[in-house]
Amino acid sequence: MQKITREQLIDKAVSLLSDGTVECVLGWEKGQFDYDITPAVFNDENELRENFVWNDFCGANFSKYLVSKTRKCNGKMLVFLKPCDTYSFNQLLTEHRFDREKVYAVGIPCEGMADIDKIKAACGDGIISIDASGDKLNVHTLYSDEPISVSAESVFAERCMNCKSKKHVAYDELLGEDGDVIESHRFDEVAEIEAMTPDERFAFWQNELSRCIRCNACRDACPACTCEKCVFDNPNSGVENKAAANSFEEKMFHIIRAFHVAGRCTDCGECSRVCPQHIPLHLLNRKFIKDINSFYGDYQAGAEVGTRAPLVDYTTDDLEPGEVFERGGDNA
């Protein structure tokens, strides 16, 4: 259950709209079901009161939407940012992807977002609606009169189980209280895979990546992927096919996708959230983050505006590529 309420957010948006600070609002809107929430732009109070949604499924990271949406808005745009979104916000500012002057950022606390697939696994299909009370989610389904109650923590999205920060690193105004950076265990799973033998690792990734249907959702949702012309849309890239002709294509796609955001990835977890095939894409990004931290010193993309990403920087006594394997223990 989120600490801040929908009404508080609407009131804030309405007051900023009415005093002319902002011209439009980037918020969440209900999709077909209670749990498929999509980002939407609201222009007036009526739209907000009618369609604005704030619940445990508002996972979408708005930072990327600012790149295209602020161009269409003449005045300022109000955007609600959860703590992890603010890292992407800073990273995009560092890369000059949108105009800071055109954005009014309101930081909102986040208590962790729910993963609908975990709820479906726990409660079955036929979900009509979901409401929250305390730290429980009550799931109303077609097949039972009584709502099924699950604890919010048990159905957290993967990224929220390993939340790295409840602290907002960028905002114009903050609603509620700011949290702290959290000691997370987000690299544990990466370390587990590293500890496998090469054959096991290959089998693991073959199993995960072969499910890829090349829908490009991970690319489209990623706040670090903001190129307007993408290498994967190039018909000569060899990986533009929808249906992979062989097992290598999706591996190439995922290695390159992760590599293109290496050093700029804030680990917001959007890639894994949007993946329709439930491929743990964050494990590829986290591997790069873990490597960067251990090779070149701790670096959190987006923690500050204007820092140089590790891959566009160097020192004269960097680690040699051959030394990489000597460091990580020997399990070849």
Partner: protein
């Protein structure tokens, strides 16, 4: 004579200013290195995009080696420093995906090191040949 004797295919990306000249020197000095090594000349080792490495594997290479000027000697001042970071991360990622780590290498070879070039290529080819065919990262359509 064995007709089906396995020969690895090695792709070597060599920078124009140091390693390519190093390969030339190896030739001039009549030093032997395997003919399985196919050299691709690039303006600088940092021209090698991670996609080039993967594409080489996709098209059937068994090993990929990137050669550039020694750190500090780059013709463009800092190119090979970027190569060093990129390839360290890329190789670590390939290892993470279960690709044999001996299939990739970065070696710094200057224009004066013809002997080092030949020795490096001999050693690398031997290691890759010992691993055998690259089954994990090849594109079946492009089979030789």
């Amino acid at each position: 004579m064995q007709i089906n004797e396995y020969k690895p295919l090695i792709v070597a990306f060599c920078c124009n200013w140091c390693s390519y000249a190093g390969a030339d020197l190896a030739g001039n000095n009549r030093l032997n290195y395997p003919a399985d090594v196919k050299i691709i000349r690039v303006p600088c080792s940092c021209r090698v995009n991670p996609m080039f490495v993967l594409r080489a594997f996709q098209r059937g290479a068994d090993g990929v080696i990137i050669c550039g000027c020694h750190p500090g000697d780059c013709h463009y001042t800092s190119g090979n420093y970027f190569t060093r970071r990129r390839m360290a991360l890329l190789f670590s990622m390939l290892d993470y995906l279960g690709i044999e780590r001996e299939r990739t290498r970065v070696e710094w070879v200057s224009a004066a090191e013809g002997a080092k070039f030949a020795a490096t290529m001999n050693d690398f080819t031997e290691k890759v040949a010992a691993l055998g065919e690259n089954k994990r990262l090849e594109d079946l359509r492009c089979k030789r």
